[in-house]
Amino acid sequence: MKIGVVTFPGSLDDADARRAAAVAGAEPVALWHADADLHGVDAVVLPGGFSYGDYLRAGAISRFAPVMETIIKKAGEGLPVLGICNGFQVLCESHLLPGALIKNHHRKFLCKDQPLRIENNRTAWTSDYDANHEITIVLKNQDGSYVADEATLDRLEGEGRVVARYLGENPNGSYRDIAGISNERGNVVGLMPHPEHCVETLTGPTTDGLGFFTSVLKAVVAS
């Protein structure tokens, strides 16, 4: 079972995502933005960072990288894809997920341990969590405020596609406290907080993030 992690110019968390994949028991594979070949991986992580310096809009230029053409096509065929932070922004810019991420409403970069509720444990990336499982993982971002029009938000809620929601005070102005969403099929998930930083107690506040990576292992084996 291979989990590919894409490195864009300006990715920061690609090494941690590969490490998390290994801790979960998968073989991590480094993918390069300019290489359209996915090298036979069974799932893909788009990591956090500031790809292309967040120029134009966060994720706007990465979305046109050669590797993204293949990922967009394969995601449509069911390939599990997790976009974390900047990766979530890339997924929205790619229209694999609805809505967009804009600057935090308080305009400051944020870095904290953030409690969340996993509201949908039927996606490829969350099946190892219990329904309404409360977890604490790292949240660190500049453009973390999830926005979409009312009709889109209602549809996401109605279809159970809000994967994770912030608990306590809203940290970044995200509409309806949304921390993560999925596509209709549940193979593509975007998440603003960082599960890959929370797989070992030496460096993270918890190991609550590991479930994202163990979930996709099971999803791939089951398919």
């Binding site: 134009l56 706007a60 935090n104 305009r107 926005v147």
Partner: protein, 83 residues
Amino acid sequence: MARVVVDVMLKPEILDPQGKAVHGAFGRLGFDGVADVRQGKRFEITLDGEATEERVAEIRKAADTLLANPVIEDYTLHVEDAQ
């Protein structure tokens, strides 16, 4: 040579934290009577030759796919004569 100008603005219903920060600075500097500030982006695209209908249509396509995100932004486009 002709120039195509694309102005991109966040949709009115989307919060603009940068505009809010600028608005705050207006107040601190004593520029009174300002109700609101919204910040946008301006792209000046210089063409190799004339701004034919076909080429402007191409730039419009670029604005739709790259320069603006229609989920959160609106844009206007106009052609200018470059000096």
